[in-house]
């Protein structure tokens, strides 16, 4: 009712037309559509060469499947990425016509950056030999979205309205999620008429494509929006939609009516919230050309290889529309339109409001190109300061404040620009179009968006680094706290023990409360061993029989004996220190440390004396040598922090001992002759190995009372495992050596038998023999020295 009134007013006050559509703002540029709309659609041009870019859309580039020199037919698959289409956006590429692959090399593409990207160059042979139904579609109707997605993926269909998003990824998998399908036939940009003529000539295909999609997705409504400046197209579409659920709606001719959010508001009244996708609110909008491609893919198995393109502009004598092959160079189409003057200015891909100036006029048509525009350059006014007139704000379809965004972008206050919702800007160009000061506003917003992206990425990296650093400091502190807690617990235990039983004599340790049952047996064994050792040192005996079967059997428990000695010594020390504390009345945390250190030193001295005796006594034993050697060689370091290594030491030594035992048993079983050398070898190895152990410390050995934390247990287990692995390799090496030596022996025997001598092996054998003799000699010498002592 108000509409005719406004339309009358609009004749004298053109801006009143803004009240005829729902969204805010909009501009009314000079359309010049009659230049190309009144011309018939020309037949397809087969160009001299086709340049097929491998990446025409967001996502991954396609991987080439053909080679240079191959002859390909129309619709043949040329390139496809091997990645999973569900995880990445992949679009295959098919040959638009038959011909020979000329080259696969970087070519300049119709991108604002003008950068080179990989492209297949195809030389058509003009014969257009086609592979029919390359997608292998059957005439079965498509019932589920996944079936449709499959066909669309293999057909390489992307959004042909200009965005180029792969359609198979845009469509949701859940049937019924989309309740309304929207067909975008608006085509609001000046000069472009490709959708107009497509609707005039292929209305049936569009409608059928939409119906197929709606059936697959389970949509109940289909609405098509066409601008009022296309009466013929409206008639054709209405005709094609008779009897179907497709509803044709005429919308006002205003730029940018064809924008997704604007057209959605116009057709359905739904205002899409920012940062949401249409599919999330149950809507799906696609261009008419996309629906045509869907129809052809589903019905005939044709991939997307050509599209309707407008070749128009004020620089052409004969602008036209035609279905151009993907990959046709711009220059060939421009030549067909008879330019008025030489094309020494850059052509524009797209319309004048949102198009892109190509860097080279030979760039190819891609799946998203809808227009080749030639407008000879006109002088442009100089940029003046902003007079704050507010025209830009009146024109913005997203209702932003371009003026404020401009001020803040100029001042590099990008956080304020972001607050003004610059990311909602659709870069339509309405604000720049109306600015009296000729300020290129959209350029400022594009720049702001890229700066903000960079700022966000940097901020993210900074936050991640900060998080990692904080975690690391927390972890270190936690470990430190655990260590201190363990230390404290140990000290408490020591204090408790020393307070409970004062013991002066290392021999009287029968009363010490042992929590582990093994320790008591070990204690008894240790006592016995200590007594024996004492007897030995007193008697200066050098027999290797001090090791009773008991101790040899319980070699693992040998260790606690030495540790027990240290415990006793430490107890004495703490007793003394405790008495001192009582006297002093102070509880310094360092005192137990110092006291223990002193005690450790005493114990160490004692142990050093004992070590010598032990070494003498135990060098000849087979099993316990390594273990006690380890313990004997323990260097005395008054360092409390290595207490936690005790369980590790225990485990390590235990594992080593067990391995040694096994190895020895095997060796004994195999060859008696090897035994002495082997034992010498293992002994040597042990002696070699033990100095390599870091920080073995036994002064305050309270492992029975230690509260092991999870971390320390894990560490111990890890170290034990490592040790076990080391031992296993050593064992394997031993075994290997054994077998090798056996083999050598056998060979030597065979040589002796047969008398054959292989010079190399002979030399090796001689060397081996010499080594063996050396080892035997060493052993005898050692035995002699031992026996001397």
């Amino acid at each position: 009712m108000l509409r005719p009134f406004i339309e009358q007013i609009a004749k004298i006050y053109p801006t009143a037309k803004r009240y005829l559509h729902v969204f805010h703002g909009g501009v009314f540029p000079k359309y010049n559509k009659e230049l190309s709309a009144n011309q018939p659609v020309r037949t397809q041009i087969i160009p001299n060469k086709l340049i097929l870019p491998l990446q025409q859309q967001v996502g991954l580039a396609a991987e080439v499947l053909v080679n240079v020199g191959d002859y390909v037919k129309k619709n043949q698959l040329l390139a496809k990425s091997s990645k999973d289409p569900k995880k990445a956006l992949i679009v295959p590429m098919h040959a638009p016509t038959s011909g020979v692959i000329e080259s696969i090399e970087p070519a300049i593409l119709a991108h604002p950056s003008g950068l080179l990207d990989m492209a297949i160059t195809l030389k058509p042979d003009g014969k257009n030999i086609t592979i029919e139904n390359v997608l292998n579609v059957s005439k079965q109707p498509i019932e589920t979205p996944d079936q449709l997605k499959d066909i669309l993926f293999h057909a390489g269909i992307i959004g042909m309205g200009g965005a180029g998003f792969p359609t198979y990824a845009k469509i949701p998998s859940r049937p019924g999620q989309i309740h309304t399908l929207l067909i975008n036939g608006a085509e609001c940009e000046p000069f472009i008429t490709c959708d107009d003529l497509l609707m005039q000539t292929q209305a049936d295909e569009i409608v059928q494509g939409a119906l197929i999609t709606a059936k697959a997705l389970g949509s109940s409504k289909i609405i098509c929006g066409i601008e009022s400046n296309k009466p013929t197209a409206i008639k054709a579409m209405t005709q094609a939609a008779i009897g179907t659920i497709v509803e044709i709606k005429t919308v006002e001719s205003v730029y940018p009516m064809g924008g997704q959010k604007q057209l959605t508001l116009e057709l359905t009244g739904i205002e899409m919230p920012h940062k949401t996708h249409a599919v999330d609110i149950g809507l799906l909008m696609m261009n008419v050309a996309t629906f045509t491609a869907i129809y052809r893919a589903v019905m005939f198995g044709e991939p997307l290889t050509a599209r309707m393109v407008t070749v128009s502009g004020l620089g052409f004598n004969k602008p036209f529309n035609s279905v151009a092959m993907i990959g046709t160079p711009f220059s060939e189409l421009a030549e067909a339109a008879e330019p008025k003057s030489k094309l020494d200015y850059p052509l524009v891909m797209g319309g004048p409001m949102m198009g892109v100036k190509v860097k080279d006029n030979g760039v190819p048509i891609t799946k998203t190109t809808n227009c080749v525009l030639a407008n000879p350059p006109e002088p442009v006014d100089m940029q003046m300061p902003c007079i704050r007139c507010g025209e830009c704000m009146d024109a913005c379809p997203v209702n932003l404040l371009p003026q404020q965004m401009y001020f803040h972008a100029q001042a590099h206050e990008f956080d304020k620009v972001e607050k003004l919702n610059v990311f909602d800007c659709i870069e339509c160009g309405c604000c720049s179009f109306v600015c009296p000061s000729h300020i290129p506003l959209v350029q400022y917003y594009r720049h702001s968006k890229s700066e903000l992206k960079e700022i966000h990425a940097e901020q993210k990296a900074v936050d991640l680094a900060k998080e990692r650093h904080e975690f690391r400091t927390a972890r270190i502190e936690r470990e430190k706290a655990e260590r201190e807690a363990r230390l404290k617990a140990k000290k408490e235990a020591v204090k408790k023990q020393s307070a409970a039983k004062p013991a002066d004599n290392p021999a009287n340790n029968a009363d010490t409360p042992k929590k582990k049952p093994a320790s008591s047996a070990a204690a008894a064994a240790a006592r016995a061993a200590a007594a024996r050792r004492a007897a030995k040192t007193n008697q200066d005996s050098a027999t290797g029989s001090t090791q009773t079967p008991e101790t040899s059997a319980s070699s693992e428990e040998k260790m606690p004996s030495a540790r027990l000695k240290a415990i006793e010594a430490a107890k004495q020390a703490t007793q003394q220190s405790a008495q001192q504390d009582l006297e002093q009345g102070s509880e310094k945390t360092t005192d137990p440390k110092v006291a223990a250190r002193n005690a450790a030193m005493l114990a160490a001295k004692k142990r050093a004396a004992a070590k010598k005796a032990e070494k003498v006594a135990e060098t000849e034993s087979d099993t316990s040598t390594p273990v006690d050697a380890v313990n004997a060689l323990d260097t005395e370091k008054p360092d409390q922090t290595t207490i936690k290594k005790d369980p590790k030491q225990a485990a390590k030594a235990a594992a080593m001992a067990a391995a040694k035992k096994r190895a020895q048993a095997k060796i004994e079983k195999k060859a008696n002759a090897e035994k002495p050398s082997e034992s010498v070898n293992t002994t040597n190895k042990t002696e070699d190995a033990s100095p390599s152990q870091p920080e073995p410390s036994q002064m305050v050995d309270l492992t029975q009372q230690t509260t092991e934390t999870d971390a320390s247990r894990k560490e111990a287990a890890r170290k034990a495992a490592k040790l076990a692995a080391k031992e296993a390799t050593k064992k394997r090496a031993d075994a290997a050596r054994v077998t090798k030596q056996q083999a050598e022996a056998e060979r030597a025997e065979t040589i002796e038998r047969t008398g054959q001598v292989d010079p190399v092996t002979d030399k090796r054998n001689k060397a081996v023999e010499a080594a063996r003799q050396r080892a035997a000699l060493r052993k005898t010498q050692k035995n002699q020295t031992n026996s001397d002592e």
Binding site: P352, M354, M384, L401, P436, S437
Partner: protein, 342 residues
């Protein structure tokens, strides 16, 4: 000029110079009416102002290191001095307009950064400067022809403006108070407002005083500017609406003290302000709602100053006061963006 590097590559052929020219053209009817009713004094003043403008602009652009062209010809200074010229008495001495224009252009525009960067309306700044510095000269208005009985021709006006004397005439016969001033004086003398006004109606042409006709001429020009989208409709409608409303309320309350709405709307510089001064985009609010609030604020303030303030015509101070409030208004009247809740 170089082509734009990225889209859009189309433009609607509007430019700053065009906008300013359109404003200038819209002021022509009022100029002609003024000349017809008050003599040629205004032409002399205008020429003086142009001369001052050229000199001052040139010096300031040079001092600021800016290119002379296109800033010299962007017509924005022309609007400033046109506004100022309409505000001063047509027979004021020459140094009034010269000092006023210089002050307005230097302190009101260039020192803040030139076109587009000044916070205060330059014309009103100059006018306020003159009002405060030279109150006598600013309040002795030339009587219109119908009152004085004599039209000063161009030479006589020039002579008077430059020398302060016209051979053969005395000043008292030519100068007097404006209607607004008369009402104030009347009130202070105990005369009723209605009495003062009815006395004025004796000398009216077709129901309006001379000043009233000048206002009508301004209104015609202003309506044309709204049509051609040079100014926003929120300014005149907000201003005149607020002024009419408040004067109506008070007039109903006590007609003897408060003049009627028609009087308020068609005397002094009301229409000039409504369509030409407050619509200056650089100093006004930028959001649609903000423009309404800004204009209504000015309307209320004008009434307050006229009724209870020290100056007969409070346009200048009302506008300057609202200019101070513009950033605050802009901050809180931002429109709802598409897709957002608020």
């Amino acid at each position: 000029m170089s082509q734009p590097t990225s889209s859009p590559f189309a433009h609607n052929n509007q430019s700053v110079r065009k906008v300013m020219m359109q404003v200038q053209i819209a002021a022509l009817p009022a100029l002609l009416t003024h000349i017809y009713l008050f003599g040629f004094g205004i032409v002399v003043q205008w020429l003086l102002a142009i001369a001052t403008m050229l000199v001052v602009e040139y010096i300031m652009l040079k001092l600021r290191g800016r290119p002379i062209m296109p800033f010299m010809t962007d017509m924005s200074a022309l609007i400033t001095i046109t506004g100022l010229v309409f505000c001063i008495p047509p027979e004021a001495p020459w140094w009034i307009i010269v000092s006023g224009s210089a002050f307005a252009l230097v302190f009101g525009k260039h020192l803040y950064g030139g076109l587009g960067y000044n916070p205060f309306n330059p014309a009103m700044l100059g006018y306020a400067f003159l009002l405060i510095s030279f109150p006598v000269q600013m309040t002795t208005w030339t009587l219109p022809v119908d009152l004085s009985g004599h039209t000063l021709n161009f030479i006589e006006s020039a002579h008077y403006i430059f020398t302060g004397q016209i051979p053969g005439y005395s000043l008292d016969a030519l100068t007097g108070a404006t209607p607004l001033n008369e009402v104030r004086n009347g009130l202070s003398q105990g005369l009723n407002v209605t009495e003062t006004i009815t006395e004025q109606t004796k000398n009216q042409l077709f129901g309006l005083t001379s000043w009233g006709w000048v206002n009508v001429a301004f209104m015609i020009g202003g309506l044309w500017m709204i049509y051609s989208r040079v100014i926003s409709w929120q300014f005149p409608i907000g201003f005149l609406g607020a002024l009419a409303l408040i004067s109506f309320i008070f007039h109903q309350y006590d007609p003897s003290v408060y003049p009627p709405t028609s009087f308020m709307l068609f005397t002094g510089g009301t229409m000039l302000a409504a369509f030409f001064i407050i619509t200056d985009p650089v100093t006004a609010s930028t959001t649609p709602k903000g423009k309404l609030i800004y204009a209504c604020g000015i309307g209320v303030l004008v009434y307050v100053i006229r009724q209870w303030g020290a100056f007969p015509d409070g346009i200048a101070f009302a506008i300057i006061l609202m200019n101070i409030a513009v950033p605050l208004i802009d901050q809180y009247t931002q429109p709802r963006v598409f897709g957002h809740q608020r």
